[in-house]
């Protein structure tokens, strides 16, 4: 079993060697060849690499295929993506392209790479965070759990009205907790790991303590636990949603990139065979 460190260094080493090879070929090729053979070859290699990278999402939809594990695909996806950055820089001759099509292609590529790096960062940081707050839940099951919490808190409120014969808790629920338990709350605050909304709500509950009787205090303790559980659930939701939704940028733009890249390749091939001549 290869350790994570060894695997990472091995992948980085392979990536560095391949990048160095590309830079060497770029340096050795004459300026004229850079504008013909090297760019044609590097362009199609880059396009092929992007196709292979894009196949990762297909592989995820076909889990039954014995084509390496998803983890191995992800490793390849990450390092081949980094390699593509080097290849892309060499392909555009490390300058800003001039044509509208080429500029659009560059922007799309930068979005794809940027979103990919963001996704890589998220996938490296969020799982750790998810273990620190509450119970790890399935993303699809969060609405059901939220409903359970809402039903639970509503049960507590009903008990407060019948057993304690007081409307203090009911008022607080109607004023503050209905909205809190209805939907996911404080999305961005959770992403920046801010607990202020949680403590503010709990503090408001504590303030009610002076107006509550003994029965109500017991029920308010239960409500406080439910608020904490809901807040943890919202924390889970916010982070898991980010892990899901960054792909809404990465994958669609990748498809656009491949489309524009293919047209760019076709146009360049036409130009190449039409105008390359014997120059060089």
């Amino acid at each position: 079993m290869i350790s994570f460190a060894v695997r990472r260094w091995t992948n980085l080493a392979v990536c560095t060697i391949l990048s160095g090879l590309g830079i060497l070929l770029y340096t050795l090729s004459s300026p004229a060849l850079r504008h013909s053979s090297f760019f044609i070859v590097s362009g199609w290699v880059l396009f092929g690499l992007l196709i292979v990278l894009a196949l990762y999402t297909v592989r995820k939809k076909l889990p039954f295929l014995p084509l390496f594990s998803s983890s191995q695909w992800l490793q390849f996806h990450v390092y081949a993506g980094l390699l593509s950055v080097v290849l892309f820089c060499l392909h555009i001759d490390v300058r800003v392209p001039s044509g509208g099509l080429e500029i659009a292609l560059t922007v799309l590529y930068l979005i794809v790479v940027g979103s990919g790096l963001v996704g890589l960062g998220l996938s490296r940081t969020i799982p750790g965070r998810l273990t620190t707050r509450g119970e790890q839940v399935l993303f699809e099951r969060i609405p059901a759990l939220r409903r359970q919490l809402r039903d639970a808190v509503e049960g507590v409120v009903r008990r407060a009205m019948t057993e304690a014969n007081s409307v203090t808790i009911a008022d607080f629920y109607a004023r503050r907790l209905v909205v809190f338990f209805a939907d996911p709350r404080h999305f961005w605050r959770h992403l920046v790991e801010s607990n202020r909304p949680r403590y503010r709500l709990l503090n408001e509950l504590v303030v009610l303590d002076r107006y509550a009787n003994t029965e109500e205090r017991k029920l308010m303790d239960e409500i406080a636990d439910l608020i904490r559980a809901k807040d943890d659930l919202d924390y889970q939701y916010a982070h898991q949603a980010v892990l899901k939704y960054w792909l809404f940028v990465h994958i669609p733009v990748t498809s656009s990139l491949l489309l524009v890249g293919f047209v760019h390749g076709l146009v360049m091939m036409v130009y190449y065979y039409a105008f390359r001549g014997g120059t060089g």
């Binding site: 300026p31 004229a32 850079r34 504008h35 013909s36 939809k61 392209p97 001039s98 044509g99 509208g100 099509l101 080429e102 119970e135 839940v137 399935l138 993303f139 699809e140 099951r141 609405p143 059901a144 759990l145 939220r146 409903r147 359970q148 809402r150 559980a229 899901k244 792909l247 809404f248 994958i251 669609p252 733009v253 498809s255 656009s256 489309l259 524009v260 047209v263 146009v267 360049m268 036409v270 130009y271 065979y273 039409a274 105008f275 390359r276 001549g277 014997g278 120059t279 060089g280």
Partner: protein, 681 residues
């Protein structure tokens, strides 16, 4: 909290399915879920089972387990599930976004590539690559690409259809003009055919290598059905600002050529007779000068004494005669009395008198003692009159000389008498009408008009003088001719009108005594016109190298060699190489080719036009001028002046590794006239 203890206690999640229950967002998704088409399938929370005669609730533990109410008497569940509007799953929504973005991108591409020209400028949308620096001023695709004049995408389609290249190349030659349009090598097709036929007869030095066998497929440089070759296959554009369009790979030369070979080292035919067998412009024996002439004079022989690189250092020039050859060879040019131009021939006027022919005044010394015929120049000027020309021809055919008419027939004596009066008439006309008479007679004699600039040179005057002065200044030749007439024929100006009026003019003998004491002028030491009374001749003595009189007459008569009657005779006199003849141009200048269709043109200058196939070879001395080691390539040879340069001389360095051995290193493709300068329309 969220993990069921049993598989049937939890909710049924469907993250990979396209649709999920519409109640899922509220946390109460039904267990049935929508179908594949997104239709709600909800009915009841369970399907009661019949046990005996009773219906039992079958709600699973995940749905809350069996209910307290139990099924209705008819066996239906008492908890119907409210129907919902199923929603797409997260993954499906992501797929939808992907599809929409792709469709949007495709639409934009379609719009920009195939949309109206106003919507998209091809410059802004597609960058085919930067043009070379010299073409950067071209901003419109349609300036070069004919198809782009219709539509941007039309260019691409036309390129794909391979029908654009020659049409586009026609745009190239609107600025880069070529006499032969897009014909291969810029040569007329018949010239190429001749070269091809010659190459077919020559033995092939090498069979094509495997890599070159693929050259036709790799380089699409075949002419089209009209025999025209597009520029693009060789001169690729849109490859960058600094790319050299004239740098062409060898493979682009090979497809059209019969003999294919990989490089100069491998397969290039051996050089044949260059430069020793190539006809030199000047006849200069390097060997004899090194071995004999220079040692005799005590001068060291070195290439740099006579040769120096041109300013561009591509070619090696030969220093002018005045700096190199004058010391030894000027005396050869001015040797002798000069060239006899005007004269009075010896005349046997006693025989003429015996036949009753009066010739008027004539120098006594020109009687039997002077056995001189008319000079070819005089004969040429006299032959401007067809009658006189016939008389001269008749006398020439009979071998009769004017100074000996004793054996001549009556008819020939009469012809001689007419010729004598024609000579006097020539003097009279020239002195009366001057230059106009000379030009008129030469024009008639040659049959074609003379250039106004030729006339001064033909009479020994510098053609550098402004043309408007010519009618004003009395030319030297005319002054000399007038002086000669006063001495030789003092009464000719009176006699000729009488003769032409049909009156008889008798012989005057006094003139002879006058001439006998008046031979004062001798040879002119500095060149130019000089009169020798003893010979009754007006000589022209070359003033030095490149004398304009000699050169003009050589050129004029050389052009008419064989066409104008007496041009050949004059040409031979002027180009004679006998030691005692003046001029002696042909001692150094190459004698014109006798087979030439355009007369005999002497190549005076170093420049000359070469046949087309020769202009396909180029050589720059500049990179080869290492320590002035000229003889590393140009070795002297006793019999042939220089040893031929062989291929091994070049392949010592041009191996492909040490030095370039590309075809275009030594060859030029555009051998016809092709302007490289941009001519803006």
């Amino acid at each position: 909290m969220n993990r069921p203890s049993r598989f049937d206690q939890g909710d049924y999640e469907r993250p990979t399915q396209k649709w999920v229950c519409g109640w899922a967002a509220e946390g109460r998704a039904c267990r049935v879920g929508p179908d594949q088409k997104g239709r709600c399938q909800a009915t009841y929370e369970c399907f009661p089972v019949r046990k005996g005669d009773r219906w039992s609730c079958a709600r699973p533990p995940g749905g809350g387990g069996p209910c307290e109410e139990g099924p209705l008497p008819d066996g239906t569940c008492c908890h119907p599930i409210p129907t919902c509007q199923p929603v797409r799953s997260l993954r499906t929504r992501r797929g939808m976004v992907t599809l929409l973005v792709s469709a949007f991108t495709f639409s934009l591409l379609l719009l920009f590539l195939a949309g109206p020209r106003l919507v998209v400028s091809p410059h802004l949308f597609v960058s085919p690559g930067p043009l070379v620096k010299s073409h950067e001023v071209i901003r419109d695709c349609a300036a070069c690409h004919v198809a782009a004049q219709e539509h941007p995408v039309g260019e691409l389609l036309a390129v794909l259809a391979s029908g654009i290249r020659v049409a586009d190349s026609q745009q190239c030659i609107t600025c880069h003009r070529s006499d032969q349009g897009l014909k291969p090598h810029g040569l007329p097709p018949q010239n190429l055919s001749q070269i091809t036929e010659r190459m077919k007869r020559a033995p092939s030095p090498l069979s094509p290598s495997s890599s070159l066998s693929l050259a036709p497929a790799a380089a699409d440089v075949r002419p089209d059905e009209h025999g025209e070759l597009a520029c693009v296959p060789c001169h690729g554009e849109h490859l960058g600002r600094t790319v050299r369009l004239t740098r062409i790979d060898n493979q682009y030369c090979q497809p059209c050529h019969l003999v294919r070979f990989p490089s100069l080292m491998n397969g290039h035919p051996e050089f044949t007779g260059y430069p020793s067998q190539s006809r030199s412009r000047w006849q200069f024996n390097h060997v004899s000068h090194e071995k004999e002439h220079f040692p005799t004079k005590g001068i060291a022989f070195g290439c740099q004494h006579c040769h120096r690189p041109a300013l561009n250092r591509r070619t090696i020039l030969t220093d002018p005669f005045e700096r190199t050859c004058t010391g030894c060879h000027l005396e050869h040019i001015q040797r002798g009395s000069g060239i006899a131009v005007f004269n009075l021939p010896g005349v046997d006027f006693e025989t003429l008198l015996d036949h009753g022919i009066e010739i008027g005044e004539w120098p006594d010394e020109a009687n039997l003692d002077l056995e001189e015929d008319l000079t070819p120049f005089m004969a040429l000027l006299l032959s401007a009159d067809p009658k006189v020309a016939r008389d001269l021809d008749e006398l020439a055919r009979a071998g009769v000389h004017l100074y000996d008419l004793e054996k001549a027939s009556e008819r020939q004596v009469a012809a001689a008498g007419r010729v004598v009066w024609a000579v006097k008439g020539l003097y009279y006309d020239l002195l009366t009408n001057g230059r106009a008479e000379l030009v008129a007679r030469l024009t008639k004699a040659f049959g074609v008009p003379l250039s106004p600039r030729d006339v001064p040179a033909l009479t020994g005057q510098s053609s550098e003088a402004p043309g408007w002065l010519f009618p004003v200044i009395q030319p030297d030749w005319l002054n000399r001719l007038q002086a000669a007439q006063r001495r030789w024929l003092p009464d000719v100006m009176a006699e000729v009108p009488l003769y032409r009026a049909g009156k008889t003019v008798t012989l005057k003998e006094l003139a002879m005594k006058f001439i006998a004491t008046g031979d004062a002028e001798r040879e002119n030491p500095v060149g130019g016109w000089s009169r020798v009374d003893r010979a009754l001749t007006l000589f022209y003595r070359p003033a030095g190298h490149a004398d304009h009189f000699v050169r003009a007459w050589v050129d004029v008569t050389g052009k008419r060699y064989g066409t104008a009657g007496r041009a050949a005779e004059i040409f031979e006199i002027l180009t004679a190489s006998a030691p005692d003849t003046p001029g002696q141009c042909m001692r150094c200048h190459a004698r014109p080719d006798a087979q030439s269709q355009q007369g005999r043109l002497v190549e005076w200058t170093e420049e000359r036009s070469l046949p087309a196939e020769r202009r396909a070879v180029k050589f720059s001395h500049a990179p080869h001028l290492i320590r002035q080691a000229c003889r590393a390539c140009h070795a002297l040879h006793a019999a042939r002046d220089f040893k031929p340069i062989v291929k091994a001389t070049c392949t010592t360095c041009h191996t492909g590794q040490k030095m370039n051995d590309n075809c275009l290193t030594c060859h030029t493709y555009h051998v016809g006239t092709m302007t490289t300068a941009l001519v803006m329309k």
